[in-house]
């Protein structure tokens, strides 16, 4: 039976430092990736009493806390948005980022049982946690949209750019996570480091809108964007809540890829749902409404891409020794 078909030949050789990602092989194993994601969903849903409620609870509780602390007490700017909306947008994305980073970091060690016994492309393990984490984010997104409508903030057409930002978030979490995952094999302290890091990183990413950084700093303001998550979250707020975009303008922005000055004074018309009578609600943005934060996002790209490449490299180096070390 084996002779009649053309069977692939597997070559086993000592590993080299840098191996090609072997995307073709990953593609061949796509079903396994699917089953891993499917397993994560099922298990998560079954194991906990409240299931996905936890996914919602975390950003919601944080949003309440942040609103009270940073808005009411510290009187920080929420960039013209209702502060719960402002914080919820950032925190829901942050939750996805932090959860993914944490699970990717522990993925190699956590799957030791599997990895020391059976071969499959090792990248599937961290990759599947990136994907299954999205489910939680989408649920949080539903809550977020409800919250926005409550505050009469309508998701604009620019929402179609959200997947791009999600992809960037995933890439950042994956890059940093892969590095930690590989490091975790040798030093289990990484397990302690990651929660610590994510909480500090969170404060550096979700609180300060770009508009609050003094304009007189000129180009230096974009140093803020060296933290890619700051730019991505800014972008999230922009594309979810700040701007109404016409399809024409959107196409132009996407095609040019340049920071387009799309800012106009906003007047968003919403039908008030509460009493059913159409009313005009005025939603004023800040004096100067924020620009599309592409430049800020671009400032974070070197980190994201660099970390992804380095994380992949380090991961690839460690994965072959993994069975011998653990």
């Amino acid at each position: 039976m084996a002779d009649s078909r053309s069977v692939p030949t597997i070559h086993i050789r000592p590993s080299r430092g840098w191996m090609a990602l072997n995307l073709r092989e990953m593609w061949e194993y796509r079903e396994l990736l699917y089953f891993f994601v499917w397993r994560n969903m099922k298990v998560r849903y079954r194991q906990t009493l409240l299931g996905f409620t936890w996914a919602i609870l975390n950003p919601v509780v944080n949003t309440v806390a942040f609103t009270v602390i940073f808005d009411r007490l510290a009187k920080l700017s929420s960039d013209g948005l209702p502060s719960p909306v402002f914080y919820m947008i950032g925190l829901s994305l942050w939750r996805y980022f932090a959860a993914t980073l944490t699970s990717v970091s522990s993925s190699l060690v956590g799957s030791a049982n599997l990895l020391t016994k059976i071969y499959f492309p090792r990248l599937l393990i961290p990759l599947n946690t990136c994907i299954s984490g999205l489910a939680e984010y989408f649920i949080a997104l539903v809550i977020l949209v409800a919250l926005m409508l409550w505050f009469h903030v309508v998701p604009a057409a620019s929402v179609v750019l959200l997947p791009v930002l999600l992809l960037l978030t995933m890439a950042t979490a994956l890059g940093v996570g892969l590095f930690f995952a590989a490091l975790n094999v040798r030093y289990r302290d990484v397990g302690q480091l990651v929660p610590f890091l994510t909480s500090i990183w969170m404060y550096a990413s979700v609180i300060i809108p770009f508009s609050q950084i003094p304009e007189r700093w000129g180009i230096w303001r974009y140093l803020y964007g060296l933290n890619p998550m700051a730019g991505i979250i800014e972008g999230c707020r922009w594309c979810l809540a700040h701007h109404v975009m016409t399809v024409e303008k959107l196409t132009k922005t996407v095609l040019s890829g340049l920071p387009a000055r799309l800012a106009e004074s906003q007047r968003i018309i919403v039908e008030r749902l509460m009493d059913g009578t159409p009313q005009i609600i005025l939603h004023e943005t800040t004096k100067t409404p924020p620009d599309a934060p592409w430049l800020l996002i671009a400032a974070g790209l070197p980190f994201t891409i660099g970390m992804l490449v380095f994380g992949l490299y380090y991961f690839k180096r460690v994965e072959k020794m993994f069975a011998d070390i653990v």
């Binding site: 039976m1 692939p8 030949t9 086993i12 000592p14 298990v43 599997l114 020391t116 071969y119």
Partner: protein, 445 residues
């Protein structure tokens, strides 16, 4: 690569750093856990501390070979490393069933790990035509929260099956595992027997081009073991390429076309099955290194075990004993000057080839020879009736003085037991039913 070659291995080698082997921790823990149960002695506790700092006994052999390599100042073997596999060359044709035998630590599992791509070789290369699947890790990736049905898909997928393949074999798998009624029950509610059956069923229905079978027969109840054995034979005889690793020489001889004997990471003999098996058994019974020259021992050395012999009822030294007959184990020792009042303890543990403890005897249990040992002498332990099934057994010996470990050797000696008409009916229980022959009788009242 010719069309009829399924596996070609050239110059394959694997170098480990000492203390870095995969199953070091496992064997380590097992060793520690077995000790108190086996010898029930304070010496075990003292040994734990010593053992924690050193290597597990099972790895001492590799340590020895590492030391040997150092002596020859091999530039390829930096200090602190050893070769678990060295310069393996092997070709396996399509449809061939090749047995791989050797003692524990000979490199069998390392070879399988490389071929199943779990770990990388250090040198050489291998070419494999077709999908490889191993029956050595049944149940990998089982998730207790998922139902039987879900686990079949997950596990099958992890082992390399496509969803369509699983779909088409699903009913067969379920029927083989005998879990029809519990398909939608989470596996955490399964008995251990059920989950093992399910895991084996998935693995057995993989149908890859090349099958690696490690001894998994220790799983499940007797009836299921028989079924597994049958399935393995089907696989082996179904024209598939099979690498078969086992300690069960009868099965090797029954199934394999060719046999490879590994020792200390090298192929020492290859070819005709019965030749290789008999070579292996010879190697097993007469340890390659005389006992008094072995360095893989623990303890302070106040007493040194020099030699172990097995004698039959007529006092003849034998390596093959007979079931149901008397046996005497004679341990020759040498010691420093020890106070005659010192509390002497000797324990002999007997293990089956699968390294399961079978029984242990100690002088504490019978309250004999607890002191006044001469400086040199022979300690004899007499077993009036050897209640063992036919097979090969290994012996661990431990001596302590005032509860301080003096000498302890794992695998100090081996002996074979030959079947005899134990029950006077010409019958013996099947070998899967344990290692003991229990005298018994029946009646109806």
């Amino acid at each position: 690569m010719g069309n009829d070659i399924a596996i070609r291995i050239e110059g394959l080698g694997k170098r480990y750093r000492l203390g870095q082997t995969v199953d070091l921790k496992r064997t380590f823990r097992e060793t520690l856990m077995d000790l108190p149960r086996f010898f029930g002695h304070k010496a075990a506790r003292a040994l734990k501390d010593a053992a924690r700092r050193t290597l597990s006994a099972a790895r001492v052999q590799e340590l020895q070979s590492a030391v040997r390599d150092h002596r020859t100042a091999d530039p390829e073997t930096p200090p602190g490393t050893f070769w678990a596999l060295r310069d393996i060359n092997l070709e396996v044709e399509h449809g061939e069933v090749v047995g791989i035998i050797g003692r524990n630590g000979a490199g069998k599992s390392t070879l399988l790990k490389i071929l199943s791509r779990v770990t990388d070789p250090t040198t050489g290369h291998a070419e494999i035509r077709g999908r490889v699947a191993s029956l050595l890790e049944v149940g990998t990736g089982f998730n207790p929260e998922l139902t039987g049905r879900e686990n079949i898909y997950l596990n099958g997928s992890i082992m390399g099956m496509k969803k369509a393949e699983i779909d088409s074999r699903f009913d067969e798998i379920v029927a083989f595992a005998e879990v029809e009624k519990f398909l939608d029950t989470p596996v955490k509610r399964y008995s251990s027997g059920m989950s093992v059956r399910l895991a084996f069923a998935v693995a057995a229905h993989l149908e890859p081009e090349i099958q690696i079978i490690d001894e998994v027969l220790a799983v499940g109840d007797a009836a299921f073991q028989k079924k597994c054995l049958g399935k393995m034979q089907d696989v082996a005889k179904g024209g598939r390429t099979v690498l078969f690793v086992s300690h069960n020489m009868a099965m090797i001889e029954n199934i394999c076309d060719r046999c490879v004997l590994l020792r200390e990471g090298r192929v020492v003999k290859e070819g005709n099955v019965s030749d290789v098996v008999s070579h292996y058994l010879k190697q097993m019974s007469g340890s390659s290194v005389p006992l008094d020259q072995r360095t893989d021992r623990k303890g302070n050395g106040r007493v040194r075990i020099l030699d172990i012999q097995f004698q039959d009822e007529s006092g003849q030294t034998q390596t093959v004993l007979r079931s149901g007959r008397p046996m005497t184990v004679q341990v020759r020792y040498d010691s420093e000057a020890i106070s005659p009042q010192a509390k002497m303890h000797i324990a002999i543990g007997v293990y089956s080839v699968r390294e399961n403890p079978v029984f242990a005897v100690t002088n504490d249990l019978t309250g004999q020879i607890g002191s006044h040992w001469p400086r040199q002498g022979h300690v004899q332990c007499h077993l009036p009736n050897l209640l063992l099934m036919p097979g090969t057994y290994s012996v661990n010996v431990l001596v302590s003085v005032n509860d301080v470990l003096a000498d302890w050797i794992m695998g100090a000696a081996r002996f074979d037991v030959e079947g005899a008409d134990f029950y006077g009916t010409g019958q013996l229980p099947p070998s899967t039913h344990g290692d003991l022959l229990m005298p018994h009788s029946w009646k109806i009242e």
